[in-house]
């Protein structure tokens, strides 16, 4: 098997809180293959957004990170000086954020911002060239009348158009790794569908891998080849989307899939909806053992000790004593 584009081993992130450190990510191991679309799913507090910010080196000041290894294109990121790490952003890595309203600067024209984000990648090009590239890319992602729109401000764009601008920015720098954090969550349903179509459409334009972070199982099933399931700061299961969603191995994955409502399912109206009893653990005062054990229908004595992520057949991994 070819070496993965990105290999994360033993990633730990803590946030300083008033009550003490919150362990937001714990011993996370993930491989992102070359030219793959990897979905990271999990509920709130699972650490999926923190994972994205860690990879981009954009964690807020109160976060403390320690990783045994972050190997990206054969380079160890954790030992890279900050300045070199910064130069990876906007050249080898880029990110599309959840809220396209607040993620674009309200006081500058779209064009100005689209030009400046290319400078790290293309220091040799003139502002004029960069502007032309930007306008062409806006047309590519379906922004009508792109040349004129370059001098418009974010508030003059609709939510869907703003997200197209964000995607155009990512395409402009041709990253090897594109991270999209809930790229459609803030959008209305029919606009969300358009953006999903756009992402599918530009998939081949990006000669690299995409990490799609989402709480929506449907979206991940729709767009991704691989999936990483996270719970309370840990990876509980990984594998090909069809395998994981078709035959989940971890009790949490299974329970979560059960909770996804199928509106077409022939069920009695009065029948109770599935749910996972209890609530995710407090990340400041983590209980010992398997993180999911307190809510797990299949917990037993061994769950008092945390299970390691182990490999299964068919390139899958799962962190559960039962497998």
């Amino acid at each position: 098997m070819a070496a993965p584009l990105l290999s994360i081993r033993g990633l730990e992130v803590r946030y300083a809180t008033e009550r003490g450190p919150a362990r937001v990510l714990r011993s996370v191991d993930i491989d992102i293959p070359e030219n793959a679309v990897v979905g990271v799913v999990g509920e709130s507090g699972s650490g999926k957004s923190t994972l994205a910010l860690t990879l981009m080196d954009l964690l807020p000041g109160n976060a403390q990170q320690s990783a045994a290894s972050l190997l990206f294109e054969g380079v160890e990121l954790s030992s890279l000086p900050r300045s070199q790490r910064r130069r990876l952003r906007g050249t080898r890595m880029a990110m599309v954020f959840q809220d396209p309203m607040s993620s674009l600067h309200p006081l500058f024209a779209i064009g100005t911002q689209m030009v400046d984000i290319q400078r790290t990648k293309h220091p040799e090009l003139s502002s004029r060239d960069l502007r032309q590239r930007a306008a062409a890319m806006l047309t590519r992602v379906g922004v009508p009348d792109a040349a004129a729109r370059m001098s418009r401000y974010p508030h003059e764009f609709s939510g869907g158009m703003r997200q197209r601008v964000m995607i155009a920015m990512a395409l402009l720098v041709q990253p090897k790794l594109l991270i999209a954090d809930e790229p459609t969550t803030a959008l209305d349903a029919t606009i969300e569908a358009q953006i999903v179509e756009l992402l599918r459409d530009v998939r081949s334009d990006i000669r690299g891998s995409i990490i799609l972070i989402s709480h929506s199982l449907g979206l991940v099933a729709d767009l991704c080849d691989h999936v990483v399931v996270m719970y309370a700061g840990e990876v509980v299961e990984t594998g090909a989307v069809d395998d994981v969603f078709g035959a989940p191995q971890h009790p949490y994955t299974r329970a979560l899939l059960d909770c996804e409502i199928d509106p077409w399912a022939a069920v009695e109206k009065g029948a109770a909806l599935p749910r996972i009893p209890g609530a995710p653990p407090d990340l400041v005062e983590m209980p010992a053992g398997c993180v999911f054990a307190p809510r797990c229908p299949q917990r037993h004595e061994r769950c008092g000790v945390a299970p390691a992520l182990k490999s299964l057949d068919g390139n899958r991994t799962v962190a559960c004593w039962l497998r």
């Binding site: 969300e192 099933a221 509106p263």
Partner: protein
């Protein structure tokens, strides 16, 4: 049409904010004891309609009948008449609780409003708190100390303490994780069975709507474009917008995903809705007639209503 007795009738209701018409000549009947879903994207007027139903937003034209009584006339305009019949669950439960009051005070408030705060009624409310799976220790807390789920239940107890017959729920699962939303929905279902409540559920989550409602009304730019039983709407949508909306819903089932059509274009400005059929700018099956003539909401033989000149098969 529903086979139940009508509890709530909207007749050509118009809601305006200045020059913006948020709800335009909307007529809809809600049956006693049913769960009606109200779906549509932002700006379609569903929240304005919900507010109009509970009297938060005045209606400019048309009327709303509750149990046959016009809510803008006579006794029904007295304080307390409406609030003891219809209650609203807000989308943001924490922000909808007054921040400087303890949960205890918040829960006593509906009783004080009804001038019915006695040890016995308070005991009933506390029982309701326990029934809804809340701990009594919560009474000491303030809204900002509650989780989203807890705040939602506190709001629910407050609403129920007014003994309403109808509850309008605005995005009841917004902000709730997949693994816990079932709990709240189950609770709502239990309460409905126990108290004979009627629900109007406003939501953009089609999975939830498809599962918990009896009937669905689809809104677009301030008007209803289709109303019918939930099964019918999901299985055989007649309006092209309904079909597009349902197709846009990302679902796990790969077989369903493959055959989806994506609606093009964006919502026109509600300040300046298109002439003719309001959906014609985005409709995949648009004809000349659609640009000129506004389609009326018409029932078919089975009572399924759709506002389209050229509905999808069987419409």
């Amino acid at each position: 049409m529903t086979d139940r007795a009508a509890i709530l009738q909207m007749e050509s209701v118009v809601v305006r904010y200045g020059r913006l018409t948020a709800v335009d000549r909307l007529s809809l009947v809600v049956g006693d004891g049913e769960t009606l879903g109200l779906v549509g994207e932002s700006g379609c007027g569903k929240t304005s309609l919900a507010k109009a139903l509970v009297g938060l937003t005045p209606i400019d034209r048309g009327r709303i009948l509750l149990d046959g009584a016009d809510t803008s006339r006579g006794d029904a305009t007295k304080r307390g008449w409406l609030s003891q019949r219809i209650q609203l669950l807000f989308q943001d439960p924490v922000a909808s609780l007054s921040p400087r009051l303890s949960v205890r005070r918040l829960l006593q408030e509906p009783l004080r409003i009804r001038h019915a705060l006695t040890p016995q009624t308070w005991q009933e409310v506390r029982q309701l708190v326990v029934d809804l799976g809340l701990s009594e220790s919560l009474l000491q807390l303030y809204p900002h100390q509650l989780s989203g789920g807890q705040a939602r239940r506190v709001s629910l107890v407050r609403a129920l303490a007014m003994r309403p017959r109808i509850i309008v729920a605005d995005e009841p699962t917004a902000g709730l994780d997949l693994s816990v939303q079932g709990e709240l929905l189950n609770l709502l279902a239990q309460l409905q069975r126990r108290l004979g409540l009627t629900y109007v559920v406003v939501s953009h989550n089609l999975n939830v709507i498809g599962r918990i409602t009896d009937r669905v009304a689809v809104m677009y730019l301030g008007q209803i474009v289709e109303v019918g039983t939930t099964r019918r709407i999901f299985d055989r949508p007649a309006h092209h917008y309904t079909a597009g909306l349902i197709a846009a819903n990302p679902v796990l089932d790969r077989a369903r995903r493959r055959k989806r059509t994506v609606l093009q274009g964006e919502l026109p400005s509600p300040h300046d809705p298109p002439p003719g059929c309001r959906f014609h700018t985005r409709c995949p099956a648009v004809q000349e007639r659609c640009r000129l003539e506004e389609p009326a909401l018409r029932p078919d033989a089975a009572g399924h209503q759709v506002a389209c000149h050229f509905p999808l098969d069987g419409g």
